[in-house]
């Protein structure tokens, strides 16, 4: 009885929850660009086209003169994490940043206001094999569990080059008294980085075999103890079995090629090379194996391994057959994240890609890399209604996001944000005043006789 009551209460608003974004320039990314409308029902895109039926009672959002794109997806961030690096070990696959997800981080709102609806927030790059990552939607206001995009395939961070080497370098971070050559952490060279990775997957294979043997013998009716669970190797076994993705931080062409060959040996597929600033030098090899690349638009020269980075990287890799996305690598604030739309414009500038190819690099391509493309990344019937309305062409320097929808719900509205400001300002001033008054009252008691 009670359950039935709740069901009707819940269902009633759901039925009415139809929104129609009307008469905008719709950039579907996968199905072309046209003047048209989008019908959102139950959080999904119910219909999209030049002419759609607007159901009676639907909320109509007029997008005349405006541009609608799929929610932007950032395949590489570290936002909303209270802790990023477990750097004490060379292989930290047992840790998961999802446990550190902070739903109150204002970076979520900043990203949202910049048109981002999904991000991959990752473990850092201190280890050759790092921790587990979390994919979440910018459902500002939800708790940590409510943010997580649970359909996303689990993934693991890896890192090559200068960062994982740093802890092993006598010239690296030196805190007198705290670090001595005795407690330097292996590896200290790119050679050692390969060894750590190869060794870890070799151990993972043995561990996998141990469990398979156990299962087989158990199935035959033998009575025996199960192998000891190994939380470091379990995620690696998932990688070997294609149940967990890899995002590998890398810079130089040599190390990218090295990792491709290690993955060849362990039959690991569909890896996303992150940063991959010299990916353009080995684009052929990346494309041959069907691996992916997620890069910066124009970062370079901030360290030695970024000195050959060029803004044409994305265009070259794309032209040579690599699926490419553009990311922010934001940690703390969502600075670059919230302007990925104009970051995409840079592949038009540097390398002459088309506007659709550019938009794909911040929507459908990162969706494919995170294996969430069945649900997000383009404006197609049946996909989640994650949509952004811009006042101008999203690749223009002058565009700003006005409304952002996630699962059909409007999470950002610039007008609402603006109209809330005076109230917030007054509230803040009130609190300041209260604090000052309290301090004033407290003062005489603190004063001592002179």
């Amino acid at each position: 009885m009670r359950a039935a009551f709740f069901a009707t209460v819940l269902l009633a608003p759901l039925a009415a929850q139809v929104t129609v974004i009307q008469n905008g320039t719709v950039h579907t990314v996968t199905r072309g660009t046209f003047k048209g409308s989008i019908v959102i029902r139950d959080g999904k895109i119910a219909e999209v086209g030049e002419k759609v039926m607007t159901p009676a009672g639907a909320r109509v959002v007029d997008a005349t003169g405006k541009h609608v794109i799929p929610g932007i997806i950032d395949a590489h961030t570290h936002i909303a994490l209270d802790s990023i690096n477990e750097s004490s070990v060379s292989v930290s696959s047992m840790v998961n940043v999802a446990e550190m997800l902070n739903p109150e981080s204002v970076s979520i709102y900043q990203a949202l206001a910049g048109g981002v609806t999904v991000c991959n927030s990752m473990h850092g790059s201190a280890n050759s094999i790092g921790g587990q990552n979390v994919v979440f939607k910018m459902r500002w206001g939800a708790d940590a569990r409510g943010l997580i995009f649970d359909k996303a395939k689990p993934s693991l961070k890896m890192a090559l080059g200068e960062n994982p080497k740093r802890q092993g370098s006598p010239q690296g971070l030196q805190i007198p008294g705290l670090q001595s050559p005795q407690n330097l952490r292996y590896p200290g060279t790119r050679l050692g980085v390969e060894d750590v990775i190869r060794d870890a997957f070799t151990r993972a294979r043995a561990y996998q075999r141990e469990w398979k043997d156990y299962e087989a013998r158990k199935a035959r009716g033998e009575k025996l103890l199960p192998p000891r669970r190994d939380l470091e190797l379990e995620p690696l076994v998932e990688v070997l079995e294609g149940r967990r993705l890899i995002h590998a931080h890398c810079y130089r062409a040599d190390e990218i090629l090295m990792l491709i060959r290690v993955f060849d040996d362990f039959n690991i597929k569909g890896v996303t090379f992150q940063h991959v600033l010299e990916g353009y030098k080995v684009a052929k090899e990346i494309a041959e194996r069907g691996h992916y690349a997620s890069t910066f638009s124009d970062w370079w020269s901030y360290k030695v391994e970024a000195y050959d980075a060029i803004p044409y990287n994305a265009a070259i890799m794309h032209r040579k057959g690599v699926l490419v996305s553009l990311n922010s690598d934001d940690a703390g604030g969502a600075e670059l994240m919230r302007r990925l739309n104009t970051e995409a414009a840079k592949v038009v500038k540097y390398g002459g890609l088309s506007e659709d190819e550019a938009l794909a690099m911040i929507t459908i391509n990162p969706a494919k890399q995170l294996a969430i493309d069945p649900w997000v990344g383009s404006i197609e019937t049946g996909k989640d209604a994650d949509l952004v309305i811009y006042d101008k062409h999203p690749l223009s320097s002058y565009a700003k996001a006005e409304k952002v929808f996630i699962d059909g719900k409007q999470y950002f509205d610039r007008d609402e944000d603006m109209s809330r400001r005076p109230k917030f300002e007054a509230e803040k001033e009130g609190l300041h005043k209260k604090l000052l008054d309290q301090q004033k009252q407290a003062m005489p008691q603190n004063r001592r006789p002179s």
Partner: protein, 440 residues
């Protein structure tokens, strides 16, 4: 057509390298003088590096080179009002970085003399339409309140982004004195500073009172230094026999108000203190890195102090600031009547200067002001507007030719002229692009 134009331009560049050509007639372009209305379908005559004439029809006189620019746009070259371009190559490698000298007071240091004309950054930055930069000796100014290079970092120099030597790049060797107003913050310290180490490890937290005391000590140091420089100046003027002190010598143009003192002051408190100090000392100042001026904005406007804004590509300094706070700041300055220009305050992203100006436009800054903030306003702030910053008769021909609005990322810069000489737009980046696109 495009290839031909490129070839012609490449030939021009080669000719310029030989040092023979800084006169030409550019035809059929839309000219954006910045100082006045747009002139469609116009020509620009450049003679000996200077703009001789702008008009709808200019007949070629004698054997002048013709630059065909049909369908293209001409703008003044952009000016980055603060970047250590040429002083820093790879940020993480100290050996390649010459900013942030040791010591609190280094007014005698001159940025220009260490500018590496072969830096790979120079062609990369200019390829996006930036013809000159205020090269800063300090690493400060990024707008996050952090400072390195002491309180007075040295003399910032205006330099062209082309030249065989730094002398050839020079516009003004001592365009401004770079200084940082201390902020209330965690104590600064280098490697061996125990306090900084403890802070970094989170073992000890500075109380506000301590931080405030540290800051006041820094301010007092500044006052003492200026007082000493003032005494030196007076003694020298009185003809007293004093030993030459290069630091105080360098301060004289500042004390006389001849050289602007560019003071980085991020928040309201520092800005107010800097303004009061400048008024007391009767200095000509330019504020830099302003992020959270609060009510000091009215004061900046009232005193007619120009401002160098850092990048708009930033998140708000405080969590509860509006999300678009860095985007609306330029518009707020403009509405208050403050003259400002933009600086990249960095090397890596200096080429994005035009885009950081553009970012303010959808958030209230009129487009024309955005364009001025990277051209004419900058020239005015640094006192070179009689020669640079706009397309006007008599000014040097620092020009860019584009296929559209240079503040839009998708726009391509097709040609560049510095003092009338064509400049190569190739860089390490275009070279690697061509090389690896051609990899079989």
């Amino acid at each position: 057509m495009r290839t031909i134009r490129c070839l012609v331009f490449a030939a021009l560049c080669l000719a310029a390298r030989a040092g023979e050509n800084n006169s030409f007639l550019l035809r059929n372009a839309t000219v954006h003088p910045v100082s006045g209305p747009v002139i469609p379908n116009a020509s620009v005559l450049v003679v000996d590096g200077k703009i001789a004439e702008i008009g709808p029809k200019i007949a070629p006189k004698g054997k002048i080179r013709i630059v065909e620019a049909r369908g293209l746009h001409v703008y003044p070259g952009m000016i980055d009002s603060g970047s250590p371009v040429g002083l820093a190559e790879i940020a993480s490698v100290r050996e390649t970085v010459d900013t942030g000298e040791i010591g609190d007071f280094n007014p005698q240091l001159r940025a220009l003399i260490a500018v590496n004309p072969s830096s790979e950054h120079i062609p990369v930055v200019r390829a996006n339409g930036i013809t000159s930069v205020l090269v800063t000796p300090g690493t400060t100014g990024g707008g996050r309140g952090s400072a390195s290079g002491g309180l007075i970092a040295g003399q910032a120099s205006l330099a062209h982004l082309d030249g065989w030597t730094w002398e050839e790049m020079e516009i003004r060797r001592s365009a401004a004195m770079q200084m940082t107003w201390p902020a209330i913050q965690m104590p600064r310290g280098r490697g061996g500073d125990l306090e900084a180490l403890l802070q970094g490890l989170g073992v000890r937290r500075t109380t506000f009172a301590e931080a405030r005391r540290n800051q006041q000590q820094q301010v007092q140091k500044i006052q003492d230094f200026f007082d000493a420089a003032r005494r030196y100046q007076k003694a020298k003027a009185a003809g007293e026999a004093i030993q030459t002190d290069l630091r105080y010598e360098a301060m004289i143009p500042v004390l006389e108000g001849k050289q602007p003192l560019m003071i980085t002051a991020v928040r309201e408190r520092e800005i107010r203190e800097a303004l009061e100090f400048a008024a007391r000392e009767k200095l000509r100042i330019v504020l830099a890195g302003v992020r959270r001026p609060g009510k000091a904005l009215e004061e900046i406007a009232k005193r007619n102090i120009p401002v160098v804004l850092g990048t708009t590509f930033a998140t708000p300094l405080e969590e509860d600031d509006p999300y678009d706070d860095p985007f609306t700041l330029p518009a707020r300055l403009h509405q208050a009547g403050v003259k400002f220009c933009f600086a990249s305050f960095g090397v890596q992203f200096a080429r994005n200067l035009p885009y950081q100006a553009a970012q303010a436009v959808p958030f209230g800054l009129p487009y024309d002001e955005a364009l001025k903030s990277v051209t004419l306003n900058a020239a005015q702030v640094w006192g070179i507007d009689s020669e640079y910053g706009s397309i006007e008769k008599g000014k040097f021909a620092d020009l860019i030719v584009t296929d559209g609005d240079p503040l839009e990322i998708r726009t391509q810069v097709k040609m560049m002229f510095i003092k009338g000489a064509p400049v190569d737009l190739e860089s390490k980046h275009t070279r690697l692009y061509k090389r690896y696109m051609a990899r079989p």
